[in-house]
């Protein structure tokens, strides 16, 4: 009997425990830039952070579990310096910790983690949407690139959820696209297309990075050029000594 009471109590307290964990993590890692009340830090001199550089981060009130989940699972956050560009890396926090933080920030209002269904979408529709909204920065098959003042990540490592979140959140300097622009059904197709670009149709052979003429030129010089120079050297004579 007692074991059941203990279990029930644990279950009841778990969310609270998680929320506590989330709050603890927040105050240990995020408060320096995002403020004690998640209101953000505007002035550079207001707080000093454990890392280098001045503090200063946007408010997290109302950003929702969606944004928190995106930034934490991609490793964008925590960021060493507020002026640095967030880059994808191994998440700093473990999965349960991420869940706790996401719960904590989500409790302060905002959209939840989205559920996206790429299997319901079509690659063809996704291609059209991607071309119009995304290819300019992310390149036609998601190999990434640059914009003035920032690099644009490749999309190979992105999960379906992260893609959907990025589209709705617009992290760093990426624009955001709401449901009037890209409907949930269209988002399914868009995600399906991005996942397709992880393994696109490469029937021509070695895809050399799917970046077009840049790696092609390198192959022309460093493979064909060197091979043909070697061939010429074998066939012809050197200077007689």
């Amino acid at each position: 009997m007692r074991i059941w009471l203990v279990l029930l109590a644990a279950l009841a307290l778990a969310p609270a425990a998680a929320a506590d964990r989330g709050r603890d993590l927040y105050f240990a890692n995020c408060v320096w830039c995002h403020g004690a009340g998640l209101q953000g830090i505007e002035s550079a001199a207001a707080h000093s952070s454990p890392g280098n550089g001045p503090a200063g981060g946007p408010p997290l009130l109302g950003v929702g579990a969606m944004a928190a989940h995106l930034y934490l699972t991609t490793g964008y956050m925590p960021l060493r310096s507020p002026t640095q560009q967030p880059k994808r890396r191994r998440p700093h926090f473990s999965a349960p910790d991420i869940a706790a933080l996401v719960g904590f920030i989500g409790a302060h209002g905002g959209p939840p983690v989205p559920h996206v269904h790429p299997e319901r979408g079509s690659v063809k529709t996704g291609l059209t949407i991607f071309t119009e909204h995304c290819a300019g920065c992310h390149q036609m098959v998601g190999e990434g690139g640059i914009v003035s003042g920032a690099s644009v990540p490749a999309l190979k490592a992105a999960t379906a959820t992260q893609i959907a979140e990025a589209v709705r959140v617009g992290p760093y300097v990426m624009p955001r696209f709401d449901k009037h622009d890209i409907s949930p059904r269209e988002l399914d197709s868009l995600v399906r297309y991005v996942l397709y670009t992880d393994h696109p149709d490469n029937r021509g052979g070695w895809s050399i990075g799917l970046l077009g003429p840049f790696p092609e030129g390198m192959v022309a010089w460093l493979i064909a050029g060197i091979a043909l120079l070697a061939l010429a050297r074998v066939i012809g004579e050197g200077l007689k000594r």
Binding site: E42, G56, G57, P58, P82, T83, Q85, E132, A135, G136, C137, G145, I146, V147, S148, G149, A150, V169, G170, P171, Y172, V173, M174, P175, R176, F177, D178, H180, D181, R203, G204, G205, L231, V234, I235
Partner: protein, 328 residues
Amino acid sequence: MKWLWSLLALLLGRGRRGAPAHVERQRLIPEQPPSPRGENIVLALLALAALCFAAFVAVYVLDRLPDHTQLLGLALGLGFAFAAAACIVVSRLLVPVEEISEPYANEPNVAQVEEVEQLVGESGSRLTRKRLLKVAALGTGGAMGAAIIAPIASLGPAIDPDALRRDGWRRGMRLVDSKGRPLSADHIESKSFYTAFPQDVSHDELWAPLVVVRVDAERLDLPHGRDPRLWAPEGIVAYSKICTHAGCAIALYRAPLNEATSARPALVCPCHYSTFDPATGAQVLFGPAGRPLPQLPLLIDERRELRAGGHFSNDVGPSWWGVRRGRA
């Protein structure tokens, strides 16, 4: 019968070198030892090459094979590689090694040059007014050339470049998205960008594509003479999507989530990274563009849909001699 046996013996015997039996001729190519090893290598390489070419035909026929293109290329490429190797071995081991010499032709043929000059000169000896005839011939030639070249002008409206100033936007024309759905002012979010076109117009007109964004009211600083009520109603601005540098589509929008720590919002072109500020009439912030993007005035009608408020502020597309640059 003896004839037949002799013929067979001649054809099938191992290659005998040396002069033909009936004439004693001096050798033109120095005698050199044979290389049976070389011959064997060449035969082997030729056999391998033939095998690869046969494989190519087989792979070609079996077109359901996976990686078909790779197998075709491998077979053909290796076939040629073996053939090349065979040729190289022939050149190294089987061909008589020779070095021959010849004089370079270093002197001009002075006598003939003079003769040519003399021939041309003397052929004109019956002419009394050479200069006049030459001028007449040149003139006629020029006129003939002009006549032959003239039809090139049919290629395009080159004489009057007014076509370059084409701008089909009129006040009241509705803005639609790429699927033809009208753009609503209520759905133009900040930190997003929208591609728009005139309703019922081909997307292949250079003046047609627009990029529409919403700018924060405090940042708005349009050029002199553009009333924000007409050029940025509720902060919504529209610019030509065609870059004024080299004609690519402005397909990038830098939309910082936290402006304090990153660059300001900007429209960016993917070709040479010309960067335009939508808050200031698309002034050039960075990159090789020489003039701002043309801006389209906007109206929000009673259904909250976006419509054009008039013509572009200046000419669309890359610059040329007579491009109307508008006021900076």
